[in-house]
């Protein structure tokens, strides 16, 4: 059964190579290949969900450096979400990419990113995780600079150097964790650190863990390293921004979960200055992201800042180190992935049909693109956390978890920041929806556009799924039950 993991990694890899080097001209074929492969990977990931834990040692680079794949509950959870979203986006790309050139390259790097993300999900030890983490960056970078304009290349380089720099800093932590391990760096619930060995160095280790968490946090847009998101997202083609914002930021989340719960063990940093400092930075990021989103005029930039704050919700849930908060975090991973991808696809649909990028231009857009904007409205309400959307449940758990955390000051500060941020979220998302449907100036004639099914179906599916995430709350609580 372990071969299922390998297939779900190799299949998109082969697909990417075929698309890149093959002489396929027909764009229908290109798109069908990309869609079919993503769909098969989704089916495989779902199948893996129903198996017992899988584990396979692939090869050894050198002594102590082993490439190991493992499917535990975390891997399964992320693999399903990522492959599901990839499948949906590939449907959307079919119509959207008519306005972009060089479709072959886009699909091939798209599948390559999927390959590396799958490998990241199934990474069974720290080394493999680091390896795939770096490769995710390298493979998703070409998506950012797809249009090859000066601006997009600059953005891609910024993304590359931020992410590589973050990962290099994280590597310091990996070296220390491997050094203080009990012999292997394979992920074990509760951590693999040798408690006797690490005892004399615990203060050093805390510093190291802190910079490691921030290092990997660069991918999640933690302050002050959030700069790459608002630069890279607007210039990328919309399906690519969706992938970056909804999925690639989760790569950082995977890394952080793996480090906190499976490498060092949550007890190691619980109630230490590391937890306090880390949570403070996250809270600031949440607030800063939301307020920055509010003042952005560019639609995609606004969504990018929204990602900065929303992904930090997820990291906050991880950092609280208790069951409720972590449940909230997992729920938010699922709902944010679906909602943010949906919102970026909406932005893409608007660009596709009207070539409008700025928020102020969107007045009356609801008359032109009714289905798209209805989806937008529902998705926005979801992100703000209006029941019954999934994000409502997740934020509820996050708030409860924060209060339960027993941390001084932060236990009340955190829910307060969450509340303020929710209000800000409403403030930066809802006016767009309102103005889209209510036009003051009646003289402007707005023609209803023919919305393609390739655009509306993915949007509707994402909207429905994101609303339904809350229904799975019990299952997700079950997942995290044993983690803390």
């Amino acid at each position: 059964m372990a071969s299922l993991m390998i297939i779900s990694i190799l299949l998109p890899l082969i697909g990417a190579l075929v698309l890149y080097f093959g002489k396929l001209k027909n764009r229908n074929v290109l798109n069908i290949i990309a869609f079919a492969i993503s769909a098969v990977v989704f089916v495989l990931s779902t199948t893996i969900c129903f198996t017992n834990s899988l584990r396979i040692e692939l090869f050894q680079i050198a002594k102590d450096i082993t490439v190991l794949l493992k499917a535990d509950i975390i891997s399964k959870f992320f693999a399903v979400i990522i492959s599901c979203v990839f499948t949906i986006i590939s449907v959307f790309s079919y119509k959207y990419l008519t306005i972009e050139e060089n479709e072959k390259k886009f699909h091939s790097f798209y599948l390559l990113t999927l390959t590396m993300l799958m490998a990241l999900c199934y990474a069974g030890n720290l080394t493999t995780m680091y390896l795939t983490f770096e490769l995710v960056t390298l493979c998703s970078m070409p998506l950012v600079m797809h249009s090859r304009t000066q601006e997009s290349i600059k953005a891609a380089l910024k993304y590359l150097y931020y992410s590589l720099g973050g990962a290099f800093v994280g590597l310091i932590g990996i070296f220390f964790m491997v050094y203080f391990s009990t012999g292997s760096d394979e992920f074990v619930l509760g951590g693999f650190l040798d408690t006797v060995k690490v005892q004399d160095y615990s203060s050093l280790m805390q510093v190291v863990i802190f910079i490691t968490l921030i290092g990997f946090g660069v991918k999640t847009g933690v302050f002050p390293f959030q700069g790459w998101l608002p630069t890279a997202h607007p210039v990328a083609p919309s399906p690519a921004s969706a992938v970056l914002s909804g999925i690639v930021t989760k790569a950082g989340v995977i890394a952080i979960i793996r480090i906190v719960y499976f490498s060092i063990g949550s007890a190691f940093i619980k109630d230490t200055w590391v937890q306090y400092a880390w949570i403070s930075i996250i809270l600031f990021t949440i607030f800063m992201g939301s307020s920055m989103a509010l003042i952005q005029k560019n639609f995609k930039k606004r969504l990018a800042y929204s990602t900065v704050s929303q992904v930090s919700y997820i990291v906050l849930g991880i950092a609280m180190l208790n069951e409720e908060a972590l449940s909230g975090s997992f729920l938010h991973i699922a709902s944010h992935a679906l909602i943010k991808v949906g919102l970026f696809l909406v932005a893409g649909a608007i660009i596709l049909y009207t070539e409008k990028h700025e928020v102020d231009e969107l007045e009356g857009i609801g008359k032109q693109l009714p289905v798209t904007m209805i989806c937008y409205t529902v998705l926005s309400l979801g992100l703000i956390g209006i029941p019954p959307a999934g994000a409502f449940v997740s934020k509820w758990y996050l708030a409860i978890g924060s209060i339960d955390s027993g941390l001084n000051v932060l236990d009340y500060l955190a829910p307060a920041v969450l509340l303020i941020s929710a209000i800000l979220t409403a403030a930066y998302l809802l006016p767009i929806a309102v103005r889209a449907f209510i036009v003051k100036d009646k003289s402007v004639v707005l023609e209803k556009k023919q919305e393609s099914l390739y655009i509306t179906i993915p949007l509707v599916v994402l909207t429905i799924l994101s609303t339904c995430v809350g229904l799975f709350a019990d299952q997700i609580v079950e997942i995290v039950k044993n983690l803390v």
């Binding site: 680091y130 390896l131 490769l135 600079m145 050094y179």
Partner: protein
């Protein structure tokens, strides 16, 4: 097996180099003969590596302390093996590169002769022998640097000479202090010193450190990039500079007692300078716009990775240093080969002249990208493995300088990403700019000889990145009895 046999691979290329002068300048026979000599020498080296290690053999004796003696041990095997595998490819590359150059036959002779000298360094059995051959290396490579005889090249040659001679005279003083204390200069594991000998160590470290380009003695190396690219690739990325690093390995682990030096002030100084050079080299490389000089600064940083590993004075440190010695050689020679091919086939000398050249030279730049990824230390490429071992060794030291060095490595990695990866990005992604437009139009994919030699090292960087176990095991067993 007698160590007298070791004279064969040392003398063969030197004599062969002389004989090669008698051939017609442009003749194919000269090339075939040269290649034959180099391949024969390499075969000897490989044969010796896999047979039993010979005992120390004194070839000539000068008085009580000094003798010229040869031996072959684990460390020597690794260094000689590496050089022997690189030289035939480098020679092939130099044939392609020097095709239309003036005085290519002279160049060729010195190129071959250097091989013997470098092997001599690997096979020396005591510090005296190594010192003599090390001096010879300085002089034999001088014509290779000044080959083009331009003003720049002559200046580079002068700088190289002054720096190297100063370095070796400093080392000579250290050697004198050593021989007074220890009574012998023989290479024996853990040395024969009776106390720490910190000053002597400092003198030898910085004396030999000139060739290994440690700050502030590194400026000759970027200047020397005025030499033809085969020189820069083989000598200033591998043979000469690594001979400096190798000399430091020899003195540290075979002349001094590392247990006495461990934790001493001089170790802190050595580590500190290495760490500083790592950052300095990487920063300068990121700032440098001249293509070859950028790679030269990168070499400065990477050589200090090796020196840092050596100065950790632990088994893990030595293993890491040797791994990086090999992997950096493979990677950097690949980068320089690609760089030379680009310079020769387009005329671009500056990085900004490469904008949009990827379309014209896709294969060359693909190989360049692989080597550049390796240099950055991306997993699945060779240098990641050496970076891993270096950092792990640094942690094991459990001291402030160790952690500082690790931080230096990480900072340098980031700058490596900037200076190394920006070149393929410029070539593949950027559109030709005003300056690069005419150059790109002229550019064409280089000939098969270029592509093969570049490709071999790019692919080796990937292969070693995926399976390093054999090499790491070989190095571990080679230094096994040592520390």
């Amino acid at each position: 097996m007698s160590a007298w046999l070791l004279l064969i691979p040392i003398l063969l290329p030197i004599i062969g180099g002389f004989i090669a002068r008698f051939f017609e300048k442009k003749s194919t026979a000269r090339k075939i003969f040269s290649l034959f000599v180099v391949c024969l020498t390499s075969s000897f080296v490989i044969w010796f590596t896999f047979t039993v290690s010979p005992e120390v053999e004194t070839i000539i004796k000068f008085g009580k302390y000094f003798s010229f003696a040869l031996k072959l041990d684990g460390t020597g095997k690794i260094f000689s093996m590496m050089v022997a595998l690189l030289w035939p490819f480098a020679l092939l590359y130099s044939f392609a590169y020097m095709e239309d150059e003036r005085r290519q036959d002279v160049y060729n002779s010195y190129y071959i002769m250097t091989f013997g000298i470098v092997l001599g360094i690997a096979y020396s059995a005591n510090l005296m022998s190594m010192y003599v051959i090390y001096e010879a290396l300085t002089f034999i490579t001088l014509p290779l640097i000044t080959h083009t005889a331009t003003k720049e090249a002559r200046r580079a040659g002068r700088m190289y000479l002054y720096y190297s001679l100063t370095g070796s005279s400093v080392a000579l003083v250290g050697m004198g202090m050593l021989v007074i204390n220890a009574g012998t200069l023989d290479f024996v594991p853990h040395g024969s010193t009776t106390d720490a000998m910190q000053l002597a160590y400092a003198l030898l470290f910085f004396g030999f450190g000139v060739k290994a380009a440690i700050f502030p003695l590194c400026h000759w190396l970027p200047a020397a990039s005025a030499a033809p690219t085969p020189t820069t690739a083989l000598l200033h990325a591998v043979a000469v500079v690594k001979a400096g690093a190798f000399a430091i390995i020899r003195t540290t682990y075979y002349c001094f007692d590392i247990n006495k030096l461990q934790g001493s002030v001089v170790q802190g100084i050595a580590l500190g300078f290495a760490a500083f050079t790592i950052v300095y080299g990487a920063l300068k490389a990121a700032k440098e716009q001249h293509f070859k000089r950028r790679l030269a600064y990168s070499t400065i940083a990477n050589l200090s990775y090796i020196l840092f590993g050596v100065a950790l004075m632990t088994k893990a440190g030595l293993i890491a240093a040797l791994i990086h010695l090999v992997y950096h050689s493979i990677t950097k020679i690949g980068l320089f080969f690609a760089c030379g091919a680009i310079i020769k086939n387009s005329g671009a000398h500056y990085v900004y002249e490469l904008d949009g050249m990827g379309k014209k030279m896709p294969i060359t730049f693909t190989f360049f990208t692989l080597s550049a990824l390796s240099l950055t230390g991306i997993p699945l490429f060779a240098c990641f493995v050496s970076k891993w071992y270096l950092c792990t060794a640094a942690i094991e030291l459990n001291s402030f300088v160790g952690y500082m060095g690790m931080a230096a490595l990480i900072i340098s990695s980031l700058f490596t990403a900037i200076y190394a990866l920006s070149i393929p990005i410029r070539a593949f992604v950027y559109k030709p700019n005003v300056i690069s437009q005419p150059i790109v139009e002229k550019a064409k994919e280089p000939g098969i000889l270029y592509l093969v030699t570049i490709g071999v090292f790019a692919i080796l960087a990937v292969v070693f990145g995926v399976m390093s176990t054999p090499l790491v095991d070989a190095i571990t067993s080679a230094v096994g009895g040592l520390v």
